[in-house]
């Protein structure tokens, strides 16, 4: 994680329990590939839900899988977790092929589906213990893991309550705790924050960021703020195809400041502004304010400053405007914006 945003996230993270450090992860070099997906394809009745998707997840990355509903996010997540078999392609989890060595691969994954797989008639403790046993944890390890994970996910007080009586937010946490119990190096979270209230949302995002430091996390969402708040990397999927993949910081940099807002006390006619080098379009905002659309690489502010001084426009505001990530997302998911 060399990008600035990643560092920003890291500095913001409050130091959570460092005692809970996974054994598997200790051996892994920094930046090691935890998940490798090659040309993954899956059709439902002739419709390609996932079309030749390839990507890599490294340790320390929180990868946001962004797309509209029905874009193929859940299908990809289900295939990663081994719940659904792919038509074609290869998935390697922590070095083990998911199809050839399913047990080893699945041991390295914690999966939280869209609907947390919980038995309503069990208590939280019973559910977590069952899941721990399914993942091969022995008795002593199980008790230890149970305590730590419950603490981590804020479930310490509800261990003896029935899952059927818990609120959606708590169930989501139990689901996450279940995925964490066996301390997997890879977490696959399908829309982990759906149905949470704003406070729980913040907690969950903080938790995911913390978990992402010594693991690889993939989370899917159709909410852009979610990605901005949680992820270091982003992948945008449209109609089963990956249309963008990269660090979040790159995405923000790539599209930023293509607009310049200027405020002038003695504005010239808009035509004069349009003649500035690199200006594509001039938008009048009234009271001497203009929005200048320009090519991404043009150093327009220089030209504006020089002309404003020379022609006495009496400049009082000059602001580079960032094209919102929202706009980029809409362009990439709906339109045919070139990447």
């Amino acid at each position: 994680m060399s990008d600035g945003l990643g560092r920003l996230f890291q500095s913001k993270i409050t130091n959570n329990t460092a005692a809970h450090r996974p054994k598997l992860v200790e051996n892994v070099m920094k930046g090691e590939r935890l998940v490798q997906v090659e040309r993954l394809t899956r059709s439902y009745g002739g419709i390609r839900a996932v079309d030749e998707i390839s990507f890599t997840l490294r340790k320390g990355q929180v990868l946001g899988f962004l797309g509209l509903n029905g874009a193929g996010k859940s299908t990809t997540m289900r295939m990663l977790a081994g719940v659904l078999a792919p038509d074609a392609g290869r998935i390697a989890i922590n070095g083990a092929d998911l199809l050839d060595q399913p047990r080893q691969a699945k041991q390295s994954i914690g999966y939280l589906p869209e609907q947390p797989p919980l038995y309503r008639e069990l208590t939280v403790d019973e559910q977590l213990r069952y899941s721990a046993r399914l993942h091969g944890l022995d008795h002593a390890t199980c008790r230890q893991a149970l305590l730590q994970t419950k603490e981590r996910c804020g479930l310490a007080d509800v261990g003896r309550r029935l899952i059927g009586n818990l609120s959606k937010g708590y169930r989501q946490r139990v689901g996450l705790a279940q995925a964490l119990l066996h301390d997997p190096p890879v977490l696959v979270l399908d829309e982990p924050t759906v149905g949470l209230d704003p406070f729980q949302l913040r907690e969950m995002r903080g938790l995911i960021r913390t978990l992402g430091r010594d693991r690889g996390v993939i989370l899917s969402t159709h909410l852009l703020p979610e990605v901005q708040a949680t992820c270091t990397h982003v992948q945008i999927i449209r109609a089963g195809r990956l249309v963008y993949a990269g660090a979040l910081a790159d995405l923000e940099r790539q599209r930023c400041s293509t607009h310049l807002r200027v405020g002038l006390n003695a504005p010239p006619p808009a035509v004069n502004l349009a003649q500035l080098p690199g200006v594509v379009q001039v938008e009048e905002l009234g009271v001497g304010r203009f929005r200048l659309h320009h090519a991404p690489d043009a150093a327009l502010h220089q030209a504006v400053l020089e002309r404003a001084c020379a022609d006495g426009w009496d400049l009082w505001e000059i602001t580079p405007e960032h094209a919102g990530l929202e706009q980029i997302f809409v362009d990439l998911t709906l339109g045919d914006a070139p990447i």
Binding site: A85, E121, G136
Partner: protein
């Protein structure tokens, strides 16, 4: 791993009122029939004493009781098996099992074992009733054991068929209906072709009830036992295949 899944299945059964209600209803119903049978036997006793080689208390009380118990199992097993896989698929809890490092075989065997253990408990409770007669009458323990074995094999067969049909649909009611239909058909299939020789013996062989009748008479034929074991293995195999297939199709 199989035991973990079986234990959860059993736990789930006893955490719902269904299991308790089934146990109570079956026990109550069979106790009523048991009392009637014992009463009949007491009325017949005088005349039986005059016969050479007369049928004993095991033939006149235990065997008919087990015959009724088989019918009750036929009605009840679909209710127990209908949720096994269909409900898990509907509520999404199957994802937990599929994403865990557990094979389809372990999932199917675990679920199967859970229900069979429950039914075995129920059968033991039923068998306790004729066993109380040992206090005052000579019991044929061999016949009694053969009967219990027959009931357990029957329960195992019913459960295997129910488990498979539960894997085919996500509607528990549909699974129950289909299971009931299939079991009933296999139970009475020997009625067909009674006149014809070749066809008749084929249908008789296919019938679930014929092999059970032999065991109730105390005839322990390994062919009968093999029939049930094959029946169970076939349906469990189909269920495992179906579960693997679900990952491909779903």
């Amino acid at each position: 791993m199989i035991l973990t899944i079986a234990a959860r299945e059993l736990r789930g059964l006893f955490l719902s009122p269904l299991a308790w209600t089934l146990l109570a209803v079956v026990q109550g119903l069979l106790a009523w029939i048991f009392l009637i049978l014992v009463g009949d036997f007491r009325n017949l006793q005088g005349r039986l004493a005059l016969l050479d080689n007369a049928p004993g208390v095991t033939d006149l009380v235990a065997a008919p009781l087990f015959r009724v118990a088989a019918w009750v199992l036929l009605l009840l097993t679909p209710l127990l098996t209908m949720r096994l896989l269909s409900e898990e698929r509907r509520t999404g809890t199957l994802d937990l099992l599929l994403s865990a490092p557990v094979g389809s075989t372990a999932i199917v065997l675990g679920k199967y074992l859970g229900v069979v253990l429950f039914l075995s408990g129920l059968i033991v409770l039923v068998a306790l009733m004729p066993l109380t007669l040992a206090a005052g009458a000579p019991l044929d323990s061999g016949k009694l054991l053969a009967g219990v074995l027959g009931l357990i094999l029957l329960a195992g067969s019913f459960t295997a068929a129910g488990l498979y049909l539960s894997a085919l649909t996500i509607q528990p009611a549909l699974a129950a209906m289909a299971t009931f239909g299939l079991l009933l058909l296999l139970w009475v299939v020997d009625m067909a072709g009674a006149g014809q020789k070749a066809l008749g013996s084929l249908f008789a062989y296919l019938s679930l009830s014929r092999h059970y009748d032999a065991l109730l008479l105390g005839l322990f034929d390994s062919a009968d036992v093999a029939y049930y074991l094959l029946f169970i293995a076939a349906f469990l195999g189909l269920t495992i295949r179906r579960l693997d297939d679900a990952r491909l199709r779903d």
